[in-house]
Symmetry: C2
Subunit: 108 residues, 2 copies
DNA sequence: AATATTTATCGTAATATTGCAATATAAAAA
DNA sequence: TTTTTATATTGCAATATTACGATAAATATT
């Protein structure tokens, strides 16, 4: 045991959970906020922005990339990162729909 | 090591990450979707809905409760669970704002 | 009171995550 | 070509998560 039983859940449930999980770390939220703040692709500047060692930041970037939340383009000896709007839109829309459904509910 | 260095990040970043983390498991997404589907508080029915053992479900419910995503009221020998709109609204608004900021950006 | 029902907690095994030092890789600059 | 710069990978230790059997706790039913 210890491994999530993804096979018991729907593709949609696994997808939303996977994106949410990737967002479930303050360093990764900080990375997203930084990419948003600078307002363009960032080529080699992220490590200095975070209070973590370079391999740790690299690992967090990898997880965001695997979840489809950011994209990385090789640009010389640096890598340009930016937010992948598509994926963030998926969870935004998902939670928007939940909130909309909820307001119709009378409960607790 | 192994523990997240929350002290290095802002309260906001930690809060968003904490909520996202609680949503980062398909069983917990399934619980939320079930609470939404039945359209009222649920008193003792969640365990049968999920393909997991009762202690496991209880643990997932606890995590959702700790993150403020669901509320539980004792009702006789059962417990009534329902979604806490406030908390889901926090992340919905957060990601809405991010998407809005993003559309102004020309990138990659 | 005895039993059933519902949920929580404990203990534990399996696995995943976090973080970093050391090292590798690859392109740029000297 | 050597050195510098930027990022990734490896290996490892510390900690967290996931899952469940066993058991506890608390109310309901008989």
């Amino acid at each position: 045991m210890g491994a999530t039983k993804t096979e018991h859940f729907t593709d949609s449930q696994n997808q939303i959970a996977m994106i949410a999980k990737a967002l479930g770390h303050p360093a990764r939220i900080a990375i997203i906020e930084y990419l948003l703040k600078v307002d363009t692709c960032i080529c080699g500047d992220i490590v200095n922005e975070l209070p973590l060692a370079q391999p740790t930041v690299s690992q967090h970037l990898k997880e965001l990339k695997n979840a489809g939340i950011i994209k990385g383009n090789i640009e010389g000896n640096a890598i340009c990162y930016c937010i992948d709007e598509k994926t963030l839109t998926i969870i935004k829309d998902y939670f928007s729909k939940i909130i909309l459904t909820l307001t119709d509910q009378k409960c607790c």
